[in-house]
């Protein structure tokens, strides 16, 4: 265990150092990323205003709160992508990683976790500017802050597991972009990224309960800006843990098959 803690700390340190090196680039990346929620925000607040100030139980201020927290959750959701796995295999980087006495997934989790600390710091002034422009309404309890702080990391881990599983398809075949795009389409609809899940048709909401997507987007946001009870907050976090455990389990099984397929084509 101590070995892993040491490895995680060292990798996170490297990641923070690298991101600081590129802080300006990171900032522009984040600013670019804000375009998407700002469009959603403008559309939904306009609709809410036209409907007398509320749509689907969301006021203009509640929409603003949802999409401003969205920007942080989205950044926390950035993980090593399947495209990255494709590149890693093609360029021979995976071979180098496989020569280390530590699973490559640990490297990814630790590296992106380190990145998150820089992201959170960079996000704070952006959130302040967005709040000044869109005037969100927050009614936050301490319990919500605690669960939210855990849930954004839960979301990060679930998405890491999911995208790593997807990335492992590249052990069998290259050119899997089409499959990735299908996944990202499903995620957009079923996660709460496009609109809060409560605005979706009931059957989509029901379906999303059985899938991991909403626990990576909608739940962490709702944990902070929604009106969830303590039981709902902790059971939601419990669902995140369940999906993380499922992801680890599947990852272990598929990895054992995938590694036998590895042909080290890139070196």
């Amino acid at each position: 265990m101590r070995r892993y803690i040491d490895f995680y700390l060292a990798t996170m340190r490297i990641s923070i150092l690298e991101q600081i090196q590129y802080s300006v680039a990171n900032y522009f990346y984040m600013i670019g990323m804000i375009t998407e929620p700002v469009i959603y925000l403008v559309v939904w607040t306009t609709i809410a205003r036209q409907q007398g100030g509320t749509t689907g139980g969301y006021t203009v201020g509640a929409f603003a709160a949802y999409y401003i927290i969205w920007t942080l959750v989205r950044n926390m959701n950035i993980v090593f992508t399947p495209f990255g796995w494709e590149w890693r295999i093609r360029e021979g980087q995976l071979s180098m990683m496989l020569m280390r006495p530590i699973h490559p997934i640990h490297s990814d989790v630790a590296f992106f976790a380190g990145w998150k600390f820089v992201v959170i710091l960079l996000w704070l002034p952006l959130a302040a500017i967005l709040s000044w422009i869109f005037k969100p309404t927050f009614d936050i309890r301490w319990m919500e802050v605690i669960v939210f702080s855990l849930a954004i990391w839960g979301a990060y881990l679930i998405r890491t597991m999911l995208l790593s599983l997807l990335g492992m398809i590249t052990f069998w075949t290259t050119r899997v972009s089409a499959i990735f795009e299908l996944y990202f389409g499903l995620e957009l609809i079923l996660s709460g990224r496009l609109v809060p899940m409560t605005l979706m048709p009931v059957w989509i909401q029901d379906l999303s309960n059985y899938l991991p997507f909403k626990w990576t987007f909608f739940f962490p946001i709702e944990a902070l800006v929604g009106n969830l009870t303590d039981v709902q907050l902790w059971s939601g976090f419990g669902m995140q843990l369940l999906w993380i455990a499922t992801g680890i389990f599947l990852l272990n099984i598929i990895w054992n098959f995938a590694i036998k397929q590895y042909s080290a084509v890139g070196g």
Binding site: T11, S95, M96, R100
Partner: protein, 327 residues
């Protein structure tokens, strides 16, 4: 004594899709895909004892890198047995990976944006090295490769040779007992090649490490390896001492002659390889070397005469050429 590396009847075959060119063949291949089996390594066997430095030679596509990848646990063999340090590499046990290193001349593992000293710290954590031992090894290696002024510069600001030296330090910080080196000097200038060779030699002598090296630069092989394994089309062609390879595969000697008259025709004595002013190199059958030498000295006024074995590059080339011709 159990060999450090033991390979018996190793084969690694790949199934690759194959089709004719053109639209029609492309459409047909959608429904009726044809495959061809490529035998990258076919029934290769060898043993390497602890502390040996062995050159693994062969032309591109001979199966060298595939063999190294199987030995380092990256690839699963199609058949055969592989054992390194008592471990089965394909199981990729962490204990095994802690004792080996694979260095590929065209691959890097250090962070591009950070000074190497930061990446070395990550290597310490990966291999759980005790801090004092890690610092001592790191500083020793930095001294040996004269990197003191470079370790604080971001890797991206270093030259190719400097980067390669850093990569080697990073790969050996955990002091592996077995080194798989795949073209470690590729693309480097002569001075840098020499430095890296000297370092590998020093590492081998100091730590008693076993080294399996592939290189297209015969200078690497001559400087480091007493023994070579030659592989071609996945098969072993030769396994023995380097000088034995020259004896077995070279039936010629090279004579270097300096004459006062550069215009003299020497074709009757042997094959003229080069002519540079008064200096001429001749290739003569090994069995006739003494007779030709005597004739030259008696027939002509000779300022200087040297007799050398065929350069190792030419020997290797003739090995591969003769195999190709025989196929």
């Amino acid at each position: 004594m159990t060999p450090t590396i033991s390979v018996s009847n190793l084969s690694k075959h790949y199934k690759v899709p194959e089709r004719d060119g053109g639209m029609k063949a492309a459409v047909i291949s959608l429904f009726n895909r044809k495959y061809r089996t490529v035998k990258a390594v076919d029934d290769v066997s060898f043993n390497i004892e602890a502390g040996e430095v062995v050159g693994f030679l062969g032309p591109n596509g001979a199966g060298k890198t595939t063999t190294l990848k199987v030995l380092s646990g990256l690839l699963h063999p199609t058949s055969g047995m592989v054992n390194v340090l008592g471990y089965e590499p394909t199981k990729r046990s962490h204990d095994y990976l802690r004792q080996v290193a694979l260095v590929m001349g065209n691959r890097n593992q250090l962070s591009w944006d950070l000074p190497a000293i930061d990446s070395f710290e990550l290597q310490r954590a990966i291999y759980s090295l005790p801090v004092s031992e890690f610092k001592k090894t790191r500083d020793d290696f930095i001294d040996l490769l004269e990197l003191k002024d470079l370790v604080n510069k971001p890797i991206r600001n270093l030259s190719l040779g400097e980067r390669m030296k850093m990569e080697i330090v990073g790969a050996l910080l955990h002091r592996p007992k077995v080194l798989f080196l795949d073209e470690p000097t590729i693309g480097l200038d002569v001075t840098m090649q020499r430095r890296i060779r000297a370092f590998i030699k020093e590492y081998n002598q100091r730590w008693g490490a076993t080294v399996l090296l592939t290189s297209h630069y015969m200078a690497d092989v001559e400087a480091l390896c007493k023994r070579v394994i030659v592989i071609h089309h996945g098969h072993t062609l030769f396994d023995g001492e380097l000088n034995q390879l020259v004896t077995q595969f070279s039936s010629f000697k090279t004579l270097g002659i300096t004459l006062p008259d550069p215009e003299v025709d020497l074709s009757q004595y042997g094959e003229v390889l080069t002519r540079d002013g008064a200096r001429v190199t001749l290739r003569v059958p090994k069995a006739k070397t003494s007779q030709v030498t005597a004739n030259l000295l008696s027939d002509l006024q000779v300022d200087d005469l040297t007799v050398e074995d065929t350069p190792i590059d030419d020997v290797i080339d003739s090995v591969f050429t003769s195999t190709k011709a025989a196929k």
